[in-house]
Structures are given as C-alpha cells and as structure tokens.
Amino acid sequence: MAKKSRKEQMMGVAQYPLDWLEERSGLIGGLKYFLFRNVPRDSDWWQTLGSATLTAFLVQLGTGVILAMYYKPNPNDAYESVQHITNDVTLGWLVRGMHRWGASVFIILLFFHMARVFLFGAYKYPRELNWIVGVLIVPLALLEGFSGYLLPYDQTAYWATVVGININGTAPILGPYLASFLRSGSEIGGDTLSRFYSIHMLLLPGAILGLIGLHLYLVVRLGVSSPPWSDEAAGRDRNEEPAAPGSGMVNPSARGVTRRPD
C-alpha cells in the first residue's frame, strides 16, 4: 500500500474538521454556495459598491460596539465621556474618528450604490423587490445619522437635535406627537438622550441588519445583473457541478437549493 505523501496527510488533517462540520450542519456548503457564485463575465468594479457599503456598515457596527463600552448616555456624563474617549482612552480618538467619519462614508457609499443600481437598470425584473428593500434601508441609515448626532452632547449636537425634532414637529396632523415621542415628553431632558442612544444602537441597527439579510438573500437568489453594455444575456444559469470528492458536500441536492426562476 502506497504510503500517503506528507502533503496529502496535511490536507486530510485540515479537511477532516470541515467535513465533520459540513456533515452535521451543511454550513460549509452553504458558505460555498454564498461565496462562489457565477457572475456575468463583464461585471466590473461598479458592482463592488454594494459590498463596499456593507463593509462600511460593518465598520460602524464594530466601532460602535467598542464606543458603547466607554460612552455614558446621561446628560451629566455624556459630553465628558466622549472627551474621555477622545483624549484618554488608548486609540479612542481612532475608534471615535472611524465611527464618526465612517458614518459619512456609509451614507455616501449607500447613495453611490443606489446610483449604480439605478443607472445599470439593475432594479428591473426580477430584482424589483431588492430595490424596494434597499430603499427601505436608506431612511433607516439617515435616521442613524440623526440619532447619532445628539450623542456627543455638545452645543452643536444639542441644538441640531432641537431643530431636527422641531422640524419633525411641524409635520401636519401627527407631527407634534412625533416630536413628543422623540423628545420623550414635552421637553428635551435626560430621557431624550437615552432614547436616542437606544434607537441609535439597538433599534435601527437591528432593523438595518434584518433588511441587509433580506437584501443579500435576494442577491444570491437572483444573481448579479450584467452591465447595460453587456452582449451576454442577463442571468446565466448557475453551474451545478457535482460535488468533488472530499469537498465536504454530503448530498448537494439535499441542501434545499432553490434555483432562479428563469
């Protein structure tokens, strides 16, 4: 019996836990299905704006979690704690800077991504729903900006929020109630800050994450569209190659893979 080469042995050692995981969860296959998709031959850098936006959002999530470890959302401590983050905490200035400027980057990329989809006509059949999901993300992202602006609790933050809330208050019929909801009562007070904090770091990120999940599901299901100048037909079939031996796929047909409708 031929002795296995050292390389094969190493491969086997690396492969075993993956196979183990795949057999019990299908996660490896799912990840491959998600990552190794066919895209049109002539898709180019423009199509990366979506994942760039996603990356910007993930940066906001990560830096936001760290900032929350030092930030104190009450009117007496908020400003001081932000100064503490900026001046005293090791690399605090960097994390705060990333979160602060990253917020603008996120919004800008969001609109570039939107413009790309619009100009490429990538919102057309069968991707209308994905456009709609994306359009729902836009106001949530803008609300993230609005709610986050109050948190440093300096003069700019305070008065910008006063003006922002009062602009909401001038909306017809329910405007005054909306303003009262945002203020948590008839006057801006301690509850306003913690309310904005909660909206900023729990409510909106949760909603955006859910919509991003839906967005990605639809991207994977429907595939990437060709650019408008493409000669190729939009949406070629996915390559359904049989699983290579040892790749960890137990039974590809049992993964509940749904194909594109066309």
Partner: protein, 310 residues
C-alpha cells in the same frame, strides 16, 4: 409573476403612459396642500383615475389569460354517468389538524400581544403624559428695574438638573391698574426652537446672582434696542416678541407670572400669535403652548388639530 414558459425574455409590463398622469396627479396634491384645497381635489381625482387606468394596463395580461376550467363538482355529474352513486359530500367540519393549527396561531397571537402591548406602551407613554409644572421662583421684584429688560436664567425643574436650564427675557412694566406688570418672553425661537439673543448691549457688571431654593438664578440687565434675533436661521422679533422678519410663524412664547410675597415667580409657558400694543397695556393673543414652527392662528392651524399634553 412568473415568466412565460420557454421564453427567454423576462416578463415586463407593456409600456404605458398612464404613470405620467398619475405622477402629475400626485404633484397636484402636494402643491395643493400648500396652495389650495381645490388643487388637492383635482389632484386626487387625477391620481385615482390614472392610477386605475395604470393598474388596468399592467394587469391586462393577467386578466386576459384564460382561467383553468373549474373542477367539475360532484353534483354536476349525474349519478348515472359518474362513479355509481358517490356518497353525498359531507358537510365541511373543522378537523383536528385545523383546530390545532388555529389554536397554536391564536395562542401565539395572544402571547405576542401580551408581550408587545405593554412594551410599546412603555415606549410611547411619555407622549401622552401631563408634565407637572413647578412654579419657578426668581427672587424679589426689586431686582427688576422698571423698563429694563433682564436676561434671567433658571432651572425649570431642579430635580432634573442643568438640562432644564431655561432663559427668559423679563421686563418690569411698572404698575398697571394698581397691579404689577411684567413682560416675560421665552427665549425659544418660534421657528425651530433655537435660543434667541438680544440685539443690544449686555450689562455684565450689573449681573445679579440671586440664590433661591431651586438654585441660583442669574439676572443680567440688557438693552435689546433692536429686539431679539435668532442665530440659527435669522428670525427677528421686536421687544414685545412680535415677529419682524425671518421664518418664525408667530410671536415669542411667554411665561405666566405671579407675585408671591414680593417675589416674582414664573408659571406655565403659553404660545402667542401676536401682541398688539406694548408694555403693560399690550393685548396678547394667547394660545396653549404649541411646538415651534406650528401655526396657532390663521388657516394653517388646521394642520395641527392634535396637540400632545405639555
């Protein structure tokens, strides 16, 4: 909508001009909201008509498609031709599966409601709660020289701390019909709520720090010869708080005031449409407190029929 079988092209609705009319209708409504109700009515009519035509156009394909023949019911086939005398269909009844499904969904809905309603109520409750107003003691009225505006800053609610620090411009108008009269202007701009500033010199050297039970009240005499101005968007007011220029929709809000044991004390805030006259004999068109930027009089007030308690 699924694509047609064996057709490479994706399904697209036929081109249609109706959305153009629909869009014009929507624009008409929006413009009408500002300009006149007649335009709103016309816009609404356009929107409905063109919306209907559009939907009819888009769904035309669907509706023209032939429906599959409904399955022939047992009754349609004479017993002699069908499978010999099938038993008459039993009356529909809820079987066990249906019952369990309904029970599970119903119970789930009840549980979700029991959890959600209090939580959501907790989040929106402050909107509907009356806030208790304390009177704010500003110290003896001797601190307020007759005819002199004073910038007074005080804590509206000492238990909440510095965040409730407010500013009022107060002028002693002397006696009117044997009663002391004060003009107490809130510094909250009637445009979007920024703090308005006096257009004129402050006399910092004559500043008084008046201790009260609710913390220090600071009183700085000022001569707002040019009235008051807002740094945010340029709203301007005269010395009675009437709007003279810029975007504010009404005059500055005012505080009710009381004299208790020779001390000036501030009560509730109220909104003011305009002030006719000046000083002690001014006629104040008083309304309940509303948010900045909201009209309290004129036809625009119909936009704000509901006010949360303040």
């Amino acid at each position: 909508m699924e694509p047609h079988e064996g057709q490479g092209k994706p399904h697209l609705p036929p081109p249609s001009l109706w959305p153009v009319g629909f869009a014009i209708g929507v624009v008409c409504i929006l413009v009408g909201l500002i300009v006149s109700w007649a335009a709103v009515a016309v816009g609404a009519a356009l929107t409905v008509v063109f919306g209907f035509l559009w939907v009819r156009d888009v769904t035309g394909d669907y509706r023209r498609r032939e429906l599959p023949a409904p399955p022939t019911s047992a009754a349609a086939i004479p017993a002699s031709e069908g499978e010999a005398a099938t038993a008459p269909a039993e009356p529909e009844r809820i079987d066990r599966n249906m019952f369990l499904e309904g029970a599970t969904l119903g119970l789930g809905a009840v549980i979700a409601g029991v959890v959600t309603v209090p939580v959501v109520g907790f989040a929106i409750a402050p909107v509907f709660q009356h806030k208790h107003h304390h009177e704010v003691d500003l110290g003896p009225i001797e601190n307020f020289k007759e005819g002199q505006f004073v910038i007074s800053t005080f804590l509206l609610d000492p238990s909440e701390g510095e965040i409730t620090r407010r500013t009022a411009y107060i002028r002693n108008n002397g006696f009117f019909q044997n009663k002391p009269s004060f003009t107490v202007l809130s510094n909250r701009c009637a445009h979007l709520g920024c703090p308005v500033q006096p257009n004129g010199p402050l006399f910092e050297k004559r500043k008084v720090e008046q201790p009260t039970k609710a913390g220090d009240v600071s009183l700085i005499p000022v001569l707002p010869a040019g009235g008051f101005g807002c740094p945010c968007h340029g709203g301007q007011y005269d010395q009675e708080g009437n709007r003279t220029a810029g975007p504010p929709v009404r005059a500055l809000d005012r505080y009710e005031f009381y004299i208790r044991n020779g001390r000036l004390s501030l009560g509730k805030t109220y909104s003011v449409a305009k002030v006719v006259g000046a000083g002690a004999s001014a006629q104040i068109h008083k309304y309940r407190l509303t948010g900045p930027g909201e009209h309290v009089d004129g036809w625009e007030q119909i936009f704000y029929p509901l006010q949360p308690p303040s």
